[in-house]
């Protein structure tokens, strides 16, 4: 990786090398295990905790190395900011007129839930490119460690607040957000929810009232497959966290929205093959990318190459709004 203006894909690297980049003054987003991130010096970076990555060598778990995305060297002066639940709704209006914003927020925190449910209605949402990810922890440390967002300028770790970097670009350049979603809506029933939220019980299935948890049990649907909604051609997933037929309740990793038609996705035989096939074949590497922990786990991506989009494997991906089981990337042309 160079420190010049040339754009290179993000890379997994040692704490020592990452520290050199920070000291060189480059603007960056860093993902890593909390213990590794705490060794980094202060500087112009934001980050979050996670120890799963997609690298040039494929999926990898590392609690020693950190993943560094160097943001474009020819950008204007970036603004690095903290957001709490009362200010996160201003995330989009704080973005530059030409450029992009990158946000990291801790999983399971109120700000994560607030963003998940309300981001589509934030002021200026969709008007300017917004990407980001949700920080997590090693699966074996769930419940003992909390996911955290990190604010590089002060070295502060937060399990409550989000951090963002707003990056202005010269007029000759532009940024855009894209996703790679392996999942296509299947031919099964159309599911509609009576209200938005992270859980559901009674829903409309092909316009007939039904309990969703019992429907899943009776139909033998693989709950590793997400619900997929069609937003004017964009397939957006909602992943299922748990389904309890006895209680009649289903929990989701992201919110379902009232008034939207969902279908369960078709199965995918090989996640790694599908990612390699669907990943963009562009000469210029993405400025940022992240993929979902569920794809990593369900698709057994550890040790398998998924193409040329590298980045952290996260507890939630942000492509404007929160998405699930999706690869998100940012292009800067």
């Amino acid at each position: 990786m160079t420190t010049g203006k040339g754009r290179v894909p993000g890379q997994l690297m040692s704490v020592e090398v990452a520290s050199e980049y920070i000291r060189s003054g480059r603007v960056m987003c860093i993902a890593g295990d909390e213990r590794a991130l705490r060794k980094l010096p202060r500087g112009r970076w934001i980050g979050g905790t996670i120890c799963y990555f997609i690298s040039a060598d494929g999926g990898v778990t590392s609690q020693d190395e950190v993943f560094v995305d160097l943001l474009p060297a020819d950008c204007g002066e970036p603004k690095l900011r903290f957001y709490d639940v009362s200010t996160i709704s201003k995330l989009c209006i704080d973005g530059p007129d030409n450029g992009f914003s990158l946000v990291v927020m801790p999983a399971f925190a109120p700000i994560h839930l607030q963003f998940a449910q309300h981001a589509p209605n934030y002021e200026d949402m969709y008007m300017k490119p917004l990407v980001g990810w949700v920080a997590g922890v090693h699966m074996s440390e769930l419940g003992t460690l909390t996911p955290k967002a990190v604010f590089g300028p002060t070295g502060e770790f937060s399990e409550l607040n989000a951090v963002a970097i707003h990056v202005p670009l010269p007029e000759t350049r532009s940024a855009s957000v894209a996703i790679v979603n392996l999942f296509q809506p299947g031919e099964g029933a159309v599911i509609r929810f009576p209200r938005s939220g992270f859980n559901a019980s009674d829903v409309l299935i092909d316009n007939q009232p039904h309990n969703l948890a019992r429907y899943l049990s009776e139909s033998g649907i693989n709950i590793q497959l997400p619900l997929v909604a069609d937003y004017c051609g964009a397939h957006i997933n909602v992943a299922i966290r748990a389904a309890d037929a006895q209680k009649g309740e289903v929990d989701f990793y992201g919110p379902v929205f009232e008034g939207v038609d969902y279908r369960f996705a078709n199965p995918v035989s090989s996640y790694a093959d599908a990612f390699r096939e669907m990943a963009p074949k562009e000469a210029v590497p993405a400025a940022f990318s992240c993929n979902c922990i569920l794809n990593y786990l369900y698709g057994n991506l550890e040790g398998h190459s998924t193409g040329t989009l590298y980045g952290p494997v996260t507890f939630g991906e942000i492509a404007y709004q929160l998405v699930n089981q999706t690869l998100v990337y940012l292009r800067v042309d």
């Binding site: 709704s89 969709y126 008007m127 855009s176 937003y231 004017c232 964009a234």
Partner: protein, 262 residues
């Protein structure tokens, strides 16, 4: 200023009258209490008791550098007045202020700017916009001669992105008018019908830009539940603003829109 002058300024007319008007110097606020005249024959005829009164409070356009709050006591069996100084029963703003808010929002002003210009709470503006977007409140307002205000300050301009059905308080395109055409290579004007066709789903284009896909999906839902033309016009302006701002990244979609608009 006496009540009669203030009535003229605000456009308060029969059967309504100003019962009291007070200036709160500390709050820079003019509090105007409107109702049926206490000694009027209509009040006596109707034998209105306090129990039969509904009270409404709306923020109205400022008067003489002061913020203005209208309090209306309205008998339960009387409809709300269709006057600039009045509002809908579930709105925090008068019709006149609502129209001004919509004009600024339609032109892409941020909530912070809108709330600053009218000195209203940003949260209140945000909640109001959410209620418009979800169809829980409308922005329409039909003026009648009797309710027409007598001052420029109380006469808002319409939100102008209409090509739909005629609306008394908006600039509508007559069915006999030729649709506005996209000027050579330019984005079609907000009045062009193509925006509404996209928002109703009657026209579809091949969209690959994620931001536009998500925005259009949201706007279509909001357009479908919008209660009135002004709210629908706001959605048109929002969609067009996206295209203006993202001309470099939504190029193929914008080219399709321009081509279809010719």
């Amino acid at each position: 200023m006496n009540n009669a002058t203030l009535e003229k300024l605000l456009g308060v007319s029969w059967p309504w009258s100003i019962l009291s008007a007070e200036v709160d110097d500390a709050e820079h606020l003019l509090e105007v209490h409107i109702g049926l005249p206490r000694a009027g024959w209509l009040t006596m005829l109707r034998n209105v008791s306090r129990d039969g009164i509904r009270t409404f409070v709306w923020r109205h356009l400022g008067v003489g550098g002061l913020r203005c709050r209208i309090r209306l006591d309205c008998p339960v069996d009387m409809p709300l007045p269709e006057a600039a100084w009045a509002g809908q029963d579930d709105s925090p703003f008068s019709h006149a202020l609502t129209q001004r808010l919509l004009i600024l929002l339609g032109n892409g002003a941020s909530l912070a700017v809108v709330s600053s210009v009218f000195d209203v709470d940003p949260q209140e503006v945000w909640r109001f916009k959410r209620r418009l977007d979800t169809g829980r409140v409308g922005a329409s307002w039909t003026t009648s001669e009797s309710a027409a205000p007598h001052t420029n300050a109380a006469t808002p301009a319409p939100v102008t992105a209409n090509s739909g059905p005629s609306h008394s308080n908006t600039t509508a395109t007559s069915s006999n008018d030729a649709p506005p055409r996209a000027a050579g290579g330019e984005l079609p004007e907000a009045e062009h019908g193509i925006w509404r066709e996209l928002l109703t789903g009657h026209m579809s284009i091949d969209i690959r830009n994620l931001g536009l896909q998500l925005l259009l999906a949201r706007l279509r839902t909001q357009f479908a539940v919008a209660r009135d033309e002004d709210t629908r016009s706001l959605k048109v302006l929002e969609l067009r603003r996206y295209c203006e701002k993202n001309i470099n990244v939504a190029t193929r979609e914008i080219e399709q829109i321009k081509a279809r608009a010719q």
